[in-house]
């Protein structure tokens, strides 16, 4: 219990520090004092003189919403990954497994190449979200028979539908003639938060945070599922098919909402829960909130790298997370092999 509190406190501090570090850095150098002043100025009644109007504009209107968005996206993706890993009892599960990534990608590419997004820019996140959630519902429907939803069927349906949607997406991309549009789309598919500001944050915050809070409630059920398997959990009173349905729906809504704004970002949902599990153990009562906090910090720092690593070009966020994620997995594999060979 005490250890749980300690882990979460440390992660919260890490998140706060990351947010401050990310808000202090960018292509224009703003001294820390000015950053602090600009942030504190938001509080009504406080008025520090340390920041110029353009510095204030940069920190509060350009950097802050983007950093907060990175935190919410990273936290939601990591939490969803942890939930799905527990639900599928498969440490390789991540939000892509329920078709979110391929659905959102298709929705976004369709919105742009069909011209819908040209007329109304908000069509892009809307289409991404709509297709992403529709895909999960389709997968659920395909895998459910007689009130039961076997996990193997969900996995297979997910694979099949993702492959189909990827094919359609590639088709649309190949048909695109405008090189600039193609570039925009590829950037979206590689993930990124460039140009995202307060309007995007307003769009995403409520569904992402409400959904994440709802997921946290199922920590105990996930513990039962992880420790005892499907039948064991049922014998302890868990209404398994209802649980699966609820978790799938909420995860789809949360992930769909954030991916519609950030594009498809890989590795966060997969590797953050792993890292947290290594440190804090498999108890979902710690694992879930810790994954959210860890994922939030991770993406805030990854976005910081994406913005500041190269002076000429902004790196794609999905590239940064993959570049960090792949070596980490190799490391995990090494440790696991060493362990199994020693035993």
């Amino acid at each position: 219990m005490r250890r749980r509190g300690r882990t979460l406190s440390v992660l919260s501090l890490l998140l706060a520090a990351s947010i401050f570090a990310a808000t202090s850095s960018g292509s224009v150098s703003v001294p820390a004092r000015a950053v602090a002043a600009a942030l504190v100025d938001r509080v009504p009644g406080v008025d520090l003189e340390a920041a110029t109007p353009s510095q204030r504009a940069i920190v509060v209107h350009l950097r802050l919403p983007r950093v907060l968005l990175a935190a919410i996206v990273g936290g939601s993706l990591a939490l969803s990954g942890a939930v799905l890993q527990g639900l599928f009892r498969n440490p390789m599960a991540d939000p892509g497994i329920i078709g979110i990534s391929s659905g959102a990608a298709f929705g976004a590419v369709f919105a742009v190449t069909s011209g819908l997004a040209l007329a109304r820019p908000w069509m892009l996140p809307l289409c991404a979200f709509a297709v992403a959630t529709a895909t999960t519902f389709a997968i659920y429907r395909l895998a459910t028979r007689g009130g039961r939803t076997p996990l193997a069927a969900l996995l297979l349906a997910g694979l099949a539908l993702s492959a189909l949607l990827s094919a359609f997406t590639s088709f649309l991309l190949g048909m695109a003639q405008n090189v600039l549009i193609l570039r925009e789309l590829i950037f979206w598919l590689l993930g990124g938060l460039d140009g995202r500001g307060w309007p995007h944050l307003r769009l995403v915050t409520l569904p992402a945070l409400a959904g994440s809070a709802a997921l946290l409630v199922f920590a105990r059920d996930l513990n039962l599922l992880a420790a005892s398997g499907e039948e064991g959990a049922r014998s302890l009173g868990v209404e398994l098919d209802r649980l699966k349905r609820r978790l799938l729906v909420i995860t789809a809504l949360v992930t769909g909402a954030v991916v519609s704004v950030s594009g498809t970002i890989g590795f966060v949902g997969l590797l953050v829960p792993h890292a947290v599990r290594l440190v804090a153990g498999p108890d979902h009562r710690v694992l879930l909130p810790a994954s959210f906090l860890g994922g939030a910090s991770f993406l805030v720092l990854a976005d910081l790298l994406a913005r500041t690593l190269s002076p000429t070009e902004e790196l794609r966020l999905g590239v940064v997370t993959a570049a960090v994620g792949a070596p980490f997995f190799l490391l995990l594999l090494q440790r696991h092999r060493a362990y199994t060979e020693a035993v």
Partner: protein, 287 residues
């Protein structure tokens, strides 16, 4: 509605949505983030232009390398950098809509450039930028100069038969109707094959279509930076050797900056292309 009128509407709407209504104070810190506006603004208001895009210094892309030396700062589509310059007018390309909308949210006056459809569109752009920058008189002068030079070329080629011309770029991209190069071909006394084939905008054309159309003249960019080997591959291609333009040695390379310019410098493109299409009409140099 005529294409250029529609593009005018686009440009004007962009301005109207950003500019405050009423008497506009003269902008003193103008930032240009697009090569087309770089070229125009450096001609209209060099004294009040504080930044141009990073492309302005590249001779393969920019027609104003020399003039740009007088402008102190280089900028790209980076919202933070732009805000830090405290501009009172920002001109940016339509494809950077994220940055544009962020800047507008912060209350900055932003003009987005979209369309690139015709020489008439360029004229409208010059007029719009002249108005926004408070340099209407200079803009009108620039336009008058443009028209004069275009008319000179037109007089020389007016009665001549129009050769069939095709522009060709890496990956088989050509310029059809509603492109600036389409107007350039017309003004230089040629007939754009891509437009005749019904192609609209910058689209790909298959080798089969090229062979079937059998252009008399092919125009390509001399710049090979983004597709090295494109020229040698083109000339080595066995099927292309049978095309009239290739057989008769009428494949012309124009400097890259002239192929992509969307400013008043387009006149130079016309002046460079016309003698290539009608060598006898320009036995004596145009200027």
């Amino acid at each position: 509605m005529k294409a250029w009128v529609r593009s005018v509407v686009i440009v004007v709407l962009a301005v109207a949505s950003a500019a405050p209504v009423g008497a506009d104070p003269l902008p003193r810190r103008i930032v240009s983030v697009n090569i087309a506006s770089d070229e125009i603004l450096v001609a209209l208001v060099p004294e009040r232009l504080i930044a141009v895009s990073v492309l302005a210094d590249d001779p393969e892309v920019s027609a104003v390398v020399r003039e740009a030396r007088a402008i102190p700062i280089r900028v790209k589509a980076d919202a933070e950098r732009i805000v830090d310059l405290r501009p009172d007018l920002v001109v940016i390309g339509g494809h950077s809509f994220h940055v544009a909308s962020q800047l507008r949210h912060l209350g900055l006056r932003v003009i987005t450039i979209e369309g690139f459809e015709s020489i008439g569109w360029i004229e409208q752009l010059i007029r719009t930028l002249g108005q926004a920058a408070g340099a209407q008189a200079r803009a009108e002068q620039l336009l008058a100069d443009m028209r004069e030079r275009l008319r000179t070329v037109e007089e020389r080629v007016a009665t001549r038969p129009r050769p069939r011309v095709l522009t060709y770029a890496p990956s088989g991209y050509t310029d059809g109707r509603r492109t600036i190069l389409n107007d350039v071909i017309r003004a230089a006394g040629g007939d754009n094959i891509a437009a005749a084939l019904g192609i609209v905008g910058g689209k790909q054309i298959s080798l089969e279509q090229v062979l079937a159309a059998d252009p008399e003249t092919i125009v390509m960019s001399a710049s090979s930076r983004w597709a090295p080997g494109f020229h040698s591959e083109f000339f080595a291609h066995p099927a292309l050797r049978t095309v009239s333009a290739v057989r008769d040695g009428r494949v012309h390379l124009l400097p890259g900056r002239l192929m992509i310019t969307a400013s008043h410098h387009i006149v130079e493109t016309v002046e460079a292309l016309a003698p290539m299409l009608h060598p006898t009409a320009f036995a004596r140099a145009v200027r």
